[in-house]
């Protein structure tokens, strides 16, 4: 069955059915390719650091009056005083974006964490118990992968009324499926190795084998999936918020900012729409760049596959 778990962000990595058997034949690009890769990783790391610093430090330093409603300076285009301009009630957009990113990032982190824990537990259990448990669990994973993630998220949020927790739950519930698959196949490949046999014949209990030998082995893969999931979860939160099904409007996430900006956009004011979107794209690319480098380290075989 074709992979249906790929969502908007991870979707760029096509699932190759057979490993590429041929190596690239062009010769002279080895050096340049490596150096662009290093540049990309360093840029990504720097951007992640800037984003982390911004969402942690700016709220402590920022002058509060920039958050106050001031209709006298509403919808000012970008200037030196307000690099991103002001929104429809005169608040500084740069500050609003930083706060929005903070909210979106927090929701994304929590959702990715929850999804990773669920996915790791289910995937490891399915692989470790095997047999019918494995078959039924993986069938269920396949079944729920057949519902498009955003649609399932919309359904859950609609039934439980929009709010922070329904959004986190709906994002987490739609994202653990791929982690479960990754962890399961990783556990299965680890279980075939001699040191697991050695542990079992040495008298280790199933519980000990799972906790002591299998879980530490799958941690890199699960961690990688978690990092890749954060931008994905942020994307979902923004989409839900934009559709009016996400966070309440006083918790201005990036999606809420874009939603609010729709009114002024039709009057020709582009900046309240443009900047929150950029604030979503930059961390996504930075995290994907870092995760790509990490993947190449722990799984060099996949180098030919596409990043992101």
């Amino acid at each position: 069955m074709a992979d249906t778990t790929t969502g908007p962000v991870t979707a760029a990595a096509p699932v190759t059915r057979e490993p590429a058997t041929t190596k690239p034949v062009w010769r002279s690009h080895g050096r340049t390719r490596r150096s662009t890769r290093t540049v990309r990783v360093r840029t990504s790391a720097a951007l992640v650091a800037v984003v982390a610093l911004a969402v942690l430090v700016v709220p402590l330093l920022a002058p509060l009056d920039q958050q106050a409603v001031d209709l006298a300076r509403k919808l000012q285009p970008p200037s030196l005083a307000h690099p991103f301009g002001t929104d429809d009630v005169g608040r500084d957009l740069l500050l609003r974006c930083v706060y929005g990113l903070r909210v979106s990032l927090l929701v994304g982190l929590v959702a990715a964490l929850v999804a990773t824990v669920i996915g790791t537990a289910v995937g490891a259990a399915a692989a470790a118990f095997g047999g019918w448990t494995d078959r039924i669990v993986m069938r269920l994973v396949d079944t729920f992968s057949s519902v498009p993630h955003l649609l399932l998220g919309i359904f859950i949020v609609a039934m439980f009324r929009p709010g922070v927790w329904p959004v986190i739950v709906s994002v987490a519930l739609t994202h653990w499926l791929s982690t479960a698959r990754i962890v399961r196949s990783e556990v299965l490949s680890l279980r075939a190795r001699p040191y697991i046999d050695a542990a079992i014949s040495g008298g280790a209990s199933r519980r000990r084998v799972i906790r002591r030998h299998l879980l530490p082995g799958v941690m890199p893969q699960a961690g990688l999936a978690a990092v890749l999931m954060v931008p994905h979860a942020m994307w979902h939160e923004s989409a839900l918020s934009f559709l009016g099904l996400g966070l309440p409007s006083h918790q201005a996430s990036l999606g809420n900012l874009v939603q609010t900006a729709r009114g002024s956009l039709l009057a020709g004011d582009w900046w309240p729409t443009l900047f929150p979107g950029l604030f979503l794209i930059v961390p996504t690319l930075a995290l994907a760049g870092l995760a790509g480098a990490w993947r190449e380290r722990i799984n060099p075989r996949r180098r030919s596959e596409l990043m992101l």
């Binding site: 190759t16 931008p231 009016g244 794209i281 596409l306």
Partner: protein
């Protein structure tokens, strides 16, 4: 393909898949009902609306019994399912029409948008992919590659809004949304075409990165294979080698996997149809969710799942056709 298609094997595979699809749809419908039952959503209050605030408990209980809400979950699910198989999906409270009528009215517009968008993505993605693969590491390759990653990270609703700002507000050359102009009440070809341009372009461009990256990878790999080297050795022109040999084998996997892109297409349509007020089923889904219209939302969720399953089947059939080694055993 002069041998003719292996209809028998394909039919058996399709039959087997349908057999597997039935339990999947059953579980999904049950899941939909289970989520609704676990949620604070109350069909009686939703049905009664503001009248429910003043109604007596007796009336509410009567309504509860009429709607069948006092039945256990499994019973309600089974009831819905048997009605659904007979074509009765219930009534939509937000659009004030039977759900099946809403779907029938809107699905054509959604299909039009989706097919146009796919055509845009396939054509643009393939041509850019071939151009980029011709010189790996060249200027075009690097620019298009970076643009693809940025586009992949950009949310479709944001792209749609920027497109509205640029083409509808600033330049004023294309309409900002809807199916026809507000003043006209008849649907003409020219009206629909001009209103289709922006949503289809945005949806297509949001799908573009996957197609582009896939073709670029496929053609780059194909250029390193023996048939291409053989073609070059025979002295064929670069154009023939690129389009006749490398593109053919490099594009095939992408074309066959189109079916597996249905989930992403639905995700994109949910956002793009809403941004452009396109009267399709994805926009109806969002409306149904906003006003907690369970009947419509449940039917559309199941419909989307069925579309995904059909897409997967199509993809596997095409893949088996394109690569006989894979076959139709899946």
């Amino acid at each position: 393909m002069s041998r003719g298609l292996p209809w028998g094997a394909m039919g058996r595979m399709a039959g087997r898949r349908l057999l597997f699809a039935a339990p999947v749809l059953l579980v999904v419908t049950f899941g939909v009902f289970a989520v609704a039952a676990a949620s604070p959503f109350d069909p009686v209050k939703a049905y009664a609306g503001t009248a429910g605030l003043t109604a007596s408990q007796e009336n509410l209980d009567q309504l509860r019994a009429n709607l069948g809400v006092d039945q256990p979950l499994v019973h309600r699910w089974w009831n819905w399912l048997t009605h659904a198989l007979g074509g009765d999906l219930g009534d939509s409270s937000v659009l004030r029409a039977p759900v099946s009528a809403v779907i029938g009215e809107r699905i054509g517009w959604s299909a039009l948008l989706a097919i146009t968008a796919f055509a845009v993505a396939v054509l643009l993605g393939t041509s850019l992919g071939v151009l980029a693969a011709r010189k790996p590491g060249g200027l075009l390759d690097r620019c298009a590659g970076s643009a693809a990653y940025i586009l992949e990270a950009a949310p479709a609703f944001w792209l749609g809004l920027l497109a509205i700002w640029f083409f509808a507000v600033t330049l004023g050359v294309l309409p900002a949304g809807g199916l026809t102009d507000a003043a006209s009440d008849t649907v003409t070809f020219g009206q629909v075409a001009s209103h289709l341009v922006l949503p289809a372009a945005v949806l297509g461009i949001s799908q573009l990165p996957w197609f582009f990256l896939y073709v670029r990878q496929g053609v780059t790999d194909a250029l390193a294979e023996d048939p291409v080297r053989g073609a070059r050795a025979r002295g064929l022109s670069e154009r023939t080698v690129l389009l006749g040999h490398a593109l053919r084998s490099g594009m095939l996997p992408m074309l066959t996997l189109i079916g597996s892109r249905v989930p992403e297409l639905i995700t994109g349509a949910l956002l793009v149809e809403t941004v452009f007020s396109w009267p399709g089923i994805a926009a109806a889904t969002v409306q149904a969710a906003t006003s907690v219209d369970f009947a419509l939302l449940a039917a559309l969720t199941v419909l989307a799942t069925a579309a995904v399953l059909i897409g997967n089947l199509l993809s596997d059939l095409l893949y088996g056709l394109a690569d006989p080694r894979v076959g139709f055993d899946g």
